[in-house]
Assembly symmetry: C2
Homo-oligomer: 364 residues x 2
């Protein structure tokens, strides 16, 4: 089991104009940094991920990209020095809304400032500076992780060797913003949310659960829910429920959604859910540049965009479009699409399909 | 303005095994029943609709299918006797969870029994009997209205001349059940819901609003939200909000969703939302028949199924499939698809596209 590490620095000026001070990043590393310090690979986590993509966590589970990271794997720890941080705003060790506000020693709650994907990346750059790493060999991630990879490429183009984004957009669509808004409103609706000031008291678990439920629908696909659940009834302790009889008797898909919701509640801070979905809403690579296209013109390094055929959250056309815009401006982007019934979450499931694409791209 | 009418009868045995007693149906009629009583057309409303599809409501708005119903229109009131009821479980005059339970004179709340689309149809059949109408010339509706039309065709095949369903399935998909579940959980999460016992007190408005927000996303399409909102900022009283600055500053699409949510709150009962989404979940034409296909074999009358190209809630393939299954068993179903960017709600928007299809089908 890899040990969680932390790196702290004095302050970070944020895009919203506020300053976060001090800042701690929780992170994991795998493999060894070589003497030239040029074998670093940054892996970025998605919304509810953490800084441990590989190995066994303390709970015994495998990291979320474990099949891709390790000795001889595509992100080969015999070769690369892999880094993954919990993002700022997170709840897995990095400074976020559950951290103590130094002004009064109490948790920030909603006093935490609005953070962006770009802010996350700028904090990560501080960690690289600490390691004396001037340039990443690869920046890679899926979903919100891919947003960070792309933001790295646009913000620090000279410091990124190759970029990989799976199921990720260059800017969030209004539909994705809309789904995020539903999740946030559900959390805020929970009477235990108390304007975000619930630390040390009961957390808004039911609200976060509903947020996760709607998220889960967008991470799957109509096809995968049909395959997995159809119109089967839920099974509660060996008894088949009959939704035709009682208001709370359920189909299997309802039971599954509720399980997904209540599972997240055990491991995730509701305020972090609010702040990170907000950060995704704000994701727009073109921000601060003359245009979106001009921002993408900065991506001249080898780039791999992977779309998922059934992704309804960040549909495949979005990744294809990024590659097209990059290539129309002299870049060298590959677009690949995996054909999977699993929807957006294929980036955490379809390792057999994703791995060969990464290998082809990384090794060529 | 057409006058709302009511029809009451002693009791209705429901699919759940319980009895609803007494039962009132609120309804509107347009045109005149001819002496032969064979010119009746039943129009069915969708989830948040009412019994007034045409004319001006007391609020001054147009009925939800007004462009289709009237003198010389496709549902020609010079020719047809049009009937539309508020469904049982509803909140626009028919017996529903806000009605008084005769057992104690208090509102049913969640003591209201589970009702199905089939129960709604069986209640409507009682109204037809009152009018002495043995056979409908046409049964027509969109979304939940289409479910009622199809259920009429399967339950009373000898009593339906023609069937029209727009953007409607033969049985609800697990994905649609999942979206409904999110809406219900949001309502139940609202502390004002009080297990459904909120009548005479503050209603769970915020919960219903979140339910409507997620519903609204599924009624639109990614494309329509992109066209209408893109990444524009919300405008509050002439001031552009800046979502990059504040946690509650919004993009326009967030403002739109919140508006949709709060608008419904003013006119709809949250418990009815729970019961009618549940009724949709339970919609499965094959229930009680040897198979789904065998149930559809009962649909031998002329049938028009209309799909909407961008419908993500009840996608076009579902209507096409109904027509195919019907036709594979000797039926006479037409499938037509409208090409609209508006998603599911096209059945309430794209009258210029829907009307010619209905006219072709009804007049041929």
């Amino acid at each position: 089991m890899e040990r969680i590490q932390t790196f702290s620095f004095d302050k970070l000026e944020l895009e919203c104009g506020k300053t976060l001070a001090p800042v701690t990043l929780a992170y994991h590393t795998y493999g060894k940094l070589n003497p030239a310090r040029d074998n670093a690979v940054f892996i970025f986590h998605a919304l509810t991920g953490d800084s441990q993509p590989a190995g066994r966590t303390c709970g015994g589970a495998r990291g979320w990209w474990d099949p891709l990271i390790g000795p001889g794997k595509v992100f080969d720890t015999d070769k690369f020095f892999i880094i993954c941080t919990n993002v700022i705003g997170g709840c897995y060790g990095s400074t976020g809304p559950s951290s103590l506000n130094p002004a009064d020693g109490k948790p920030y709650g909603t006093r935490f400032p609005v953070v962006t994907i770009r802010d996350m990346v700028r904090a990560q750059a501080r960690l690289l500076a600490y390691y004396g790493i001037e340039r990443l060999e690869i920046a890679a991630g899926g979903s919100m992780g891919g947003m960070q990879a792309l933001e790295w490429a646009v913000t620090y183009p000279e410091r990124v060797g190759k970029v990989i984004g799976v199921g990720t957009p260059g800017r969030l669509s209004p539909q994705a913003i809309a789904y995020n808004e539903v999740g946030r409103q559900a959390i805020m609706l929970d009477p235990y949310w108390r304007q975000g000031d619930y630390y040390g008291r009961e957390a808004p678990a039911a609200g976060l659960s509903v947020a996760r439920m709607v998220g889960t629908i967008t991470y799957r696909s109509e096809q995968s829910l049909e395959m997995k659940f159809g119109r089967q009834r839920a099974n509660r302790n060996g008894r088949l429920e009959d939704p035709y009889l009682g208001l709370t008797d359920r189909f299997d898909v309802q039971s599954y959604l509720q399980y997904q919701g209540s599972s997240l509640v055990k491991r995730f801070d509701p305020n972090t859910y609010i702040y990170l979905t907000k950060a995704m809403d704000l994701h727009d690579l073109g921000r601060g540049y003359p245009s979106y296209e001009k921002a993408l013109a900065r991506i001249q390094m080898p780039t791999l965009m992977v779309g998922i055929s059934t992704d309804v959250l960040f549909p495949a056309y979005q990744q294809r479009e990024i590659a097209e815009v990059v290539n129309s401006q002299g870049g060298q982007a590959l677009y690949r699409e995996i054909d999977s019934p699993h929807g957006h979450d294929a980036f955490l499931i379809e390792f057999n399909l994703v791995e060969p694409l990464l290998r082809e791209f990384i090794c060529r």
